[in-house]
Amino acid sequence: MFLNLLQHGIGKSVEDLRWNYTIDQVYLFNTKLCRKSMDDLRENAFVLANALVYASPSYDEAAGRKKQKSWNEFINSLDWRKVSKKVNKKKSPMAFANDLRRFKVGVK
């Protein structure tokens, strides 16, 4: 556990971790690092899977376009500016009214 922390730049030495970090902090950082390394592996698997689909041969134009579209969507999902723009996008009045109708609030 200490080695894992030191390898990721947390703490200057084992003695530093032993005396200057609380037990909770050591466990917290270790858990976060484990989670991050698993997330990285998961992300790599996603990239690999998407890349394999993108690089596979297409037998007609429509399938090629579809693949290109899904690859673009995937790449955009890794772009923070695009993701945050999507989250912060203001809804049009019509979309807002549709939402209200969906939740059964009367809109004239």
Partner: protein, 132 residues
């Protein structure tokens, strides 16, 4: 979707310091835990001598009442004093000069900050009825 009450938030873990008078109280590090393990053992021995079960001092959620903290002080004052001195990194004599209310406040904070350690390491083996 609230988190469990007794689960510490990240902020609590990252910024755990509490100040009482001039003393900064921080949860134990692994180094301190090794240093105080002898005194913790001493407290358990003294409780055994008096036929007091440690888990009877804690509620089911692992909380200890003010009265039971006072009981612990009375039974194992030397060990408790030593633990507080090591935790705060001050001299025992200096702690003896503290007034009772501050002393109990500091002891309570130390317990609260490290309660998980008590519950996990000291109550669990006793509750299960023997050594691991």
């Amino acid at each position: 979707m609230g988190k469990k009450d007794n689960k510490k938030e990240d902020e609590e873990i990252l910024f755990p310091e509490v100040k009482v008078k001039d003393y900064v109280i921080k949860p134990w590090s692994f180094g301190i835990l090794f240093d105080i393990s002898e005194m913790l053992e001493g407290i358990l021995d003294k409780l055994d001598e008096k036929n007091i079960k440690l888990d009877s001092m804690f509620s089911d959620e692992g909380f200890i009442s003010y009265t039971n903290i006072l009981r612990l002080f009375t039974i194992a004052s030397k060990d408790v004093l030593e633990i507080i001195a090591i935790t705060l990194d001050v001299d025992k004599e200096e702690l003896k000069g503290l007034d009772m209310a501050d002393g109990i406040k500091i002891a309570t904070i130390i317990y609260k900050q490290n309660s998980e350690m008590f519950v996990k390491n000291f109550m669990a083996p006793q509750k299960s009825g023997g050594k691991k």
